[in-house]
Amino acid sequence: MSDKTFEMDLERQFAASPILADADVFATRVTARLDRGWTFRQMLIGGLGIVGGLIGAGQLLGSGLVSRLETLGAQSDTLVKSGIASLPAARGLTTLLSMGSSMDSQVLWMSAALGAVAVGLFVTRAIREL
């Protein structure tokens, strides 16, 4: 047998590996490890996200962002009311708005923030699905 023929025969014999009796058990073990790793990764990312979110929220609160947002909200509230008041047809609406307090602006900002979070979650989910 020539060298080349022997080497080809050897490669063929290496490639012709018999199917082991526990092939399915082995595959199940691998996929189980894959799933475990996936679950662990999801939990790790989720946990890190929560910790990061808490740290971020703490930093925001500590930096006086809320009071600044309140000021900003009050200013925008005044601006909107004065804008509406300048319209002759909107006298009734101005009265209605003036019944509220600075709480209205806080609700507005909170809603906007929650909306932003919801959009973020939606985008994240969409990226994962794609």
């Binding site: 080497e7 490639a15 082991l20 092939a23 082995f26 199940t28 691998v30 996936w38």
Partner: protein, 193 residues
């Protein structure tokens, strides 16, 4: 919708890889089912005991899943995972400092065929591999089972190219002597019959 594991049985390897790239773990599971035995078999032929072979084969498939986007389909999926597994085995050997490629090769083993004659001389690859030294066995398995070139094997083993080539040459000579059937003219015992 992802195909059910049952329907995956008829899907081509490359299509399963495409599904696995997008995170399809069922598709990857089918690939493991198809090629697990071959990868475990190679590791056993390299010299790993069955338990170590299974552990390393699992690690190889997990590594393959992590790197699945890098698989370009230039060779077969099985060959790709075998290369990963072979490298993992070599790394384990090097870590355990059990592989001494520079060591003197052992004395040549018993005469090929052990006195048997004719077709009976053609013995199984697994049996023939046992006659090789550990270094020869790893080098031959890497190159002919793992599909690595001599250069790639030398890099994986962190050994000089010449040393790897010598081990492969010696290993092939031993395998050829044990596996190739000898003609009656070459076999003195058969010639007497």
């Amino acid at each position: 919708m992802a195909p059910s594991p049952h329907s995956l049985a008829s899907v081509h390897d490359l299509d399963l890889v495409s599904l696995a790239v997008t995170g399809g773990r069922d598709a990857f599971g089918e690939l493991v089912r198809r090629h697990g035995s071959a990868v475990r078999g190679l590791l056993r032929r390299m010299g790993a005991d069955p338990i170590l072979a299974d552990d390393l084969a699992q690690d190889a498939f997990l590594a393959a899943f992590e790197q699945i986007a890098d698989f370009r389909g230039e060779g077969t999926f099985q060959a790709w995972v075998k290369r990963i597994a072979a490298r993992l085995y070599v790394r384990r050997w090097r870590r355990d400092a059990r592989l001494d490629l520079m060591a003197e090769p052992p004395e040549p083993s018993a005469a090929p065929g052990g006195g048997e004659s004719g077709a009976a001389n053609r013995i199984d690859l697994d049996e023939a591999l046992r006659a090789l030294s550990a270094s020869e066995r790893v080098c031959v398995s890497l190159c002919y089972g793992g599909g690595l070139s001599h250069v790639e094997a030398a890099l994986a083993l962190n050994a000089p190219l010449g040393t790897v080539k010598s081990h492969v040459k010696r290993g092939l000579d031993k395998l050829r002597a044990r596996m190739a059937p000898r003609s009656p003219l070459e076999d003195p015992e058969s010639a007497h019959v």
